[in-house]
Subunit: 216 residues, 2 copies
């Protein structure tokens, strides 16, 4: 006997937000969006629902490049393009003239259920960013982290750090900003790459001279 599914408010909002997304979001991204409507929802609920909904065939879990799982409300099989720099994933129109069906003799005994085609390259935004970087290239430049410009979150973290007299941990930083500890550690990683943050002791961080300049 199968479990009966219920349409809870949380589930509804999750589905709803997913349907609004064009770039197939990760559980985490979706959580951030859903939280704006349901501030008390937990990440675990988002994960659980994405799992249940894709199990039911209401949405699709994507098997795609990148570290995190991504989800798609579009059920029909279609192809994707993936930005190797910012990890965005978008749909792509592709006339699959199935000239590349696997022939039984080279399927190695597999029963083939389907095929994914994934293009990769740089999205328009990242192409633009790279161009700008090339112009004012510095020694600290780093293709994959967009050096030079600070994102809002990075600025927030860096500012919090600039107010500390001694090295502090990511939880201290989280407490003095609007950010989640998880987000803070992400930003710190990026800031370390840029040379704006140093880690004089394990899990303790402080702003560097470079970082102070970047804030100014």
């Amino acid at each position: 006997m199968k479990k009966q599914l219920r349409m809870t408010h949380q589930r509804e909002v999750i589905l709803d937000e997913l349907r609004k997304c064009k770039t197939h979001p990760t559980a985490d991204e979706l959580y951030e969006r859903v939280k704006k409507k349901l501030p008390r929802i937990s990440l675990a609920t988002v994960y659980r629902n994405l799992e249940v909904l894709s199990g039911e065939g209401l949405i699709r879990k994507l098997e795609i490049s990148g570290r995190q799982k991504r989800y798609d409300w579009e059920l029909q099989e279609h192809d994707h393009i993936y930005c190797i720099q910012c990890h965005r994933v978008e749909n792509i129109d592709l006339k699959r003239d199935r000239g590349f069906e696997v022939l039984p003799e080279n399927a190695k005994g597999y029963s083939v259920e389907g095929c994914r085609v994934e293009f990769f390259g740089l999205c328009p935004k990242c192409r633009q960013t790279n161009k700008m970087q090339k112009k004012g290239e510095t020694t600290m430049g780093c293709k994959t982290c967009g050096t030079g410009t600070l994102s809002d979150k990075q600025r927030e973290v860096l500012e919090a750090l600039s107010k500390c007299n001694e090295p502090c941990g990511s939880k201290d930083i989280a407490a003095s900003t609007s950010l989640e500890p998880k987000q803070v550690s992400c930003q710190i990683t990026a800031l370390k790459k840029k040379g704006y943050v140093a880690s004089p002791a394990r899990c303790k961080y402080e702003i560097t001279e470079e970082g102070k300049k970047a804030l100014a």
Copy 2:
């Protein structure tokens, strides 16, 4: 100025073992193999080397379905087939008659650097297992976990559990079998789904009546 790479013994063995693999291994799988030759090597070294070697272009990191990263010694671009049940990844011969190149007008402004084609289905082994399951199908049947039949590892874990008088943790089980703790928890998850193992307390497991029947 670029760092100079050194050929250490560890690095050599890692490369060597990778070259011997036909199914593109995860870091973990490779670690298990390498450990047989260098028992004192650490998983971190394997990860670090795979990262360095793929950074140098000596091996390839695969962007492929599944939870863990996989590596490939074959540098030339080629296509893969993925077993949706056991997660094995194999090469596949595919005459890409590139009829499906992305045309500039539908690349959405991306600069396309390449394309991955991935087939998925059931590998010969899993097809076989599924067939056998269908014969003796039970109410507990589950497509993705292979209910009914016990894999060798599952049987080993279940037997270990049947010898315990009280619920025990996965590390205790690992100690009394030939398996790694990591593998044990995998098997326990599968066994729980099948109803053969219960978890009366957090992280404590015991065999169920169902499980005892399955062993007999």
